[in-house]
């Protein structure tokens, strides 16, 4: 019959079942609220509102009755308002739902208008982009550190299975952030025997690994079609775009007339890249600092791969250092213990498919992703061409600077005594033996009668300078608490034996040269060696190239 009424009652019933007390209270209040005017109307007629005031009875005015009525009605009204208010509240204050997700816009009431919301969204996008970059960098670093694990896996085959697992799991992560797997990692999916074979290859994470997969495919049809590198015109055009200081090294890159079956890789719309000391990190991020320490001036880069095989490649880096010495220093510092000497440039070696050599002030790396005869042969051919170009370059400069008294590093190396271990002479640019003042030292490892030591040599510009350095050495070792014993020898100006924590050093001064033995395990052979060494040295050794001084200063 009357639907709204029955609906109301049903609703009331539901509410009652939900919360009987509150429903009863509110209903009562509402009834009281509604009935107050009626009550006043009836009671007003019955003269109930004419209370006694003292001795007189006063009939209230109409206004007084209305006021009183409103005041009375306020009581249920306030009560109802509060009860109704109480049933609406923020659930969040009681519990926290861990499943809840948050949009940028749910960041609260601080967003006054659409502009503010838009700004908040933009900020959030920026933050996410930064996070993505961090993840990207993280994955790249992870790849780099995995390489060390790969090396370890050679000797511990049981790690290969879990390692494979790890790589599998990095896969989805890589996909999510859109980063290519480094190419050499795919070898790891192969059986253990092959892994160990591939592990002997040098491993470098491809520097531009963060390009999305589509862009990572290196060969375009045009490049593949070119039979053997670029034409001379193309080459000149490319070199023309190179900044002036790097033109010379860029010119050394063999871009034309490549051996059959090889083609040159494409770097964007170019085929070569050059860098100077400031932007070197763009290419070899992480290692750039080590080159800058040796005063790198510039670098030229290109890469080659067999026609039709994009997965393997040969990278060519030509570093120009400040001078021969720096090139030697950097070359020596990267040279591993076991190498295969290769006759190219001044000095060179190959290690697991890669070929590294130096000529004059140039240090060249040819890095191969594969160690097989075809690659080795090509690497050697490229190396010879580069070395030839470098030889010409440094020869012309050498005559310019050439002084009789100036010796190349090779001449100084030659002065180190022959002996076991001499095969591996080293040049150290700074912090030699942990002494801050000692720099530019030539040394080699020696061994005799179960004792090992390093023989070293450092020519200075003048005998005074050498003497000062000798005194400084004495002062330092004394300060360190070493036991110092002077030794006489007719073939040198001064000689001293110092021993500390069981290691013996012998240092002598002859003319402008500081030389001696460092870190010998036994005193006697070391002393004998040092005496012989001093005797064999000429009274005056040629000084180092002059520019070395200022160049060194630049980085101290």
């Amino acid at each position: 019959m009357n639907d709204p009424t029955s609906g109301f009652f049903r609703q009331l019933q539901e509410r009652y079942q939900e919360n009987p007390l509150v429903t009863l209270a509110v209903s009562a209040a509402l009834v009281a609220f509604a009935s107050t005017p009626i009550a006043f109307a009836i009671l007003g007629r019955m003269d109930w509102f004419a209370p006694r005031r003292g001795r007189t009875s006063v009939k209230p005015t109409f206004l007084q009755i209305v006021t009183a009525m409103l005041l009375v009605m306020s009581i249920p009204a306030i009560f109802t308002a509060i009860v109704i208010k109480a049933s609406y509240f923020d659930e969040d204050r009681y519990e926290f739902d861990p499943n809840r997700t948050w949009t940028v816009l749910s960041q609260g009431r601080g967003l006054a208008d659409v502009q503010a919301a838009d700004k908040a969204v933009a900020e959030e996008m920026k933050r996410l982009a930064e996070e993505r970059k961090n993840i990207l960098d993280g994955v790249k670093k992870l790849d780099e550190s995995l390489l060390a694990l790969r090396v370890a896996a050679v000797t511990a085959p049981q790690t290969i299975a879990p390692l494979k697992d790890v790589l599998e799991r990095v896969g989805p992560l890589r996909k999510a952030v859109g980063i290519d797997a480094p190419q050499q990692l795919e070898d790891l999916k192969a059986p253990p025997a092959e892994i160990s074979a591939s592990l002997s290859q040098p491993v470098y994470v491809v520097a531009n690994a963060n390009v999305p997969p589509a862009a990572g495919v290196p060969t375009s049809p045009a490049a593949a079609a070119a039979p053997a590198g670029l034409t001379a015109a193309q080459r000149d055009a490319e070199i023309g775009t190179v900044p002036e200081p790097q033109k010379a090294i860029a010119g050394m890159l063999p871009l034309t007339d490549l051996p059959a079956g090889w083609t040159i890789g494409k770097l964007g719309d170019k085929h070569l890249e050059t860098f100077n000391a400031e932007n070197l990190f763009e290419k070899i991020d992480g290692r750039a600092e080590s080159f800058i320490q040796y005063d790198v001036r510039g670098m030229a880069y290109t890469y080659f791969h067999p026609v039709g095989d994009d997965s393997n490649e040969l990278q060519l880096y030509i570093f120009e250092m400040a001078n021969d010495l720096k090139a030697l220093g950097k070359y020596g510092s990267e040279k591993p213990e076991e190498t295969k000497p290769v006759q190219v440039g001044t000095e060179g070696y190959s290690a697991s498919g890669s070929l590294l050599f130096r000529t004059g002030k140039y240090y060249t790396q040819i890095v191969s992703t594969k160690d097989d005869p075809k690659f080795n042969e090509f690497a050697l051919a490229i190396a010879k061409r580069v070395a030839a170009a470098q030889g010409a370059g440094s020869a012309s400069e050498g005559t310019k600077e050439g002084g009789e008294s100036m010796a190349g590093p090779d001449a100084i190396f030659a002065m180190l005594p022959q002996g076991q271990g001499k095969a591996n002479p080293k040049y150290v640019a700074q912090d030699v033996f942990g002494y801050a003042f000692l720099s530019d030292v030539f040394m080699a490892d020696y061994e005799a009668g179960g004792s090992t030591w390093q023989g070293f040599l450092r020519p200075y510009a003048s005998p005074e300078e050498a003497k000062a350095m000798y005194d400084k050495y004495l002062e330092t070792v004394k300060a360190d608490g070493a036991e110092v014993k002077p030794e006489t020898s007719k073939d040198c100006d001064a000689m001293v034996v110092s021993s500390n924590i069981g290691l013996v050093d012998v240092v002598f001064l002859k003319g402008n040269t500081l030389g001696g033995v460092n870190g010998a395990t036994q005193a006697k052979p070391a002393l004998e060696f040092a005496k012989a060494f001093a005797t064999a040295l000429p009274p005056k050794t040629p000084a180092l190239p002059p520019m070395e001084k200022s160049a060194e200063g630049g980085h101290e």
């Binding site: 009431r109 601080g110 912090d431 801050a436 003042f437 200022s550 200063g553 630049g554 101290e556």
Partner: protein, 361 residues
């Protein structure tokens, strides 16, 4: 008065002359005045309430608007060929034996500025110059833990001679400020040279926005002297520091930090790098005539002090610090991490011979 009155009430009525004052109604004027007053006060209260309402309590946690330190560098006005670092060696033989330290400092700094284009390139007429010495400790200047008073005085005098309107010398030291300025003799030297000494007061500190590595947002800084300054010159000693290895010109700005600044030792290189972002000084002067070689930053023994006979003046504080740590303090350059960080972030360049002038006076 329709009802019957009692005798007392009748006598009351007669007292009022037959008119009951309570029966008077209010006049229109009275109504307007009284209701108007209530309305006005109420409206005022509501209006004030509306104006200052803060429904979510965010006013209490709202940070003050970020203030940034100005850029006091004049590098852009110098010719590109001007060196960013000038190293002045003093030849002890050619120095007049009776010459005062201040005179020597002035001679050396003047020579340096000449090599960079002259003092008028840096200090213009009417400039307000802040000279920030490092007086962190209340030690005798001969212990080389603080800036030398004579070099501060020399700088102040030069600025005034170049036409500066006002020169302020200020620092927020670790030890008691009065004591520091007094015992380092810097306060006295500055006052005698004509500078205004500003010791830190609570209200002189303000939140400055840095947005760097350690201070990602704002920090309370000794900002008052810099607020309306036009040039800033840092005058710092060259000394060893136990934690960050070296205190030269960049670490000098630590004296602007308000408390609790001791937290920054949790990332000392980070905060010094942030100074490179925060402060772009007109000039920095590293006074290497006395070097604190070890037991820094406090020193305390003459045995720790070495004579350096050098002053390094530069527009690039990173380069100046780099030169000083490797040439004067005999430290490994890469041991000073903040230098590498600052260079990587582009706050300055490493020291290079081509941008450096080495002169001897």
């Amino acid at each position: 008065m329709s009802e019957k009155l009692t005798a007392k009430q009748i006598s009351n009525l007669q007292k009022f002359g037959g008119v009951n004052p309570a029966d008077e109604t209010f006049s229109r004027r009275d109504f307007a005045k009284r209701v108007g007053a209530t309305g006005a006060v109420l409206t005022g209260a509501v209006a004030t309430g509306v104006a200052i309402t803060d429904p979510w309590g965010m006013q209490g946690v709202k940070p003050p608007p970020p203030v940034k330190l100005g850029n006091y560098s004049v590098r852009d006005e110098l010719p590109a060929s001007a060196p960013s670092v000038v190293v002045v060696h003093s030849n002890p033989e050619s120095q007049p034996p009776s010459e005062s330290g201040e005179n020597q400092a002035q001679r050396m700094i003047e020579a340096a500025l000449k090599a960079m284009g002259g003092i008028d390139k840096f200090i213009k007429r009417g400039d307000i110059v802040v000279v920030k010495p490092n007086v962190a400790f209340d030690k005798n200047p001969d212990l080389a833990a603080t800036s030398q008073p004579d070099s501060v005085a020399a700088v102040v005098k030069m600025c005034l001679a170049a036409g500066a309107r006002e020169v302020r010398v200020c620092d927020n030291p670790i030890n008691n400020p009065e004591s520091c300025f007094f015992k380092t003799k810097v306060g006295d030297a500055a006052l005698r040279a004509g500078a205004k000494l500003i010791l830190p007061q609570e209200s002189y500190f303000e939140d400055l926005y840095i947005g760097g590595e350690t201070i990602t947002n704002t920090w309370r800084m000794f900002y008052k002297p810099f607020k309306d300054a036009t040039k800033v010159i840092g005058v710092s000693p060259v000394k060893d520091h136990n934690l960050c290895k070296a205190t030269v010109t960049m670490k000098n700005w630590y004296g602007l930090l308000g408390n609790p600044r001791n937290q920054f030792h949790q990332n000392i290189h980070g905060i010094i790098t942030d100074f490179g972002l925060m402060m772009k000084p007109t000039l920095v002067i590293a006074d290497g005539r006395k070097l604190l070689m070890r037991n820094g930053p406090t020193g305390g023994s003459l045995n720790d002090v070495k004579r350096g006979d050098t002053m390094v003046v530069g527009t690039d504080q990173v380069a100046v610090d780099s030169w000083c740590v490797s040439k004067l303090l005999e430290k490994q350059r890469h041991e000073i991490v903040y230098l590498d960080k600052s260079i990587a972030k582009g706050y300055g360049a490493d020291w290079r011979p081509q941008w450096t002038n080495e002169i001897t006076v």
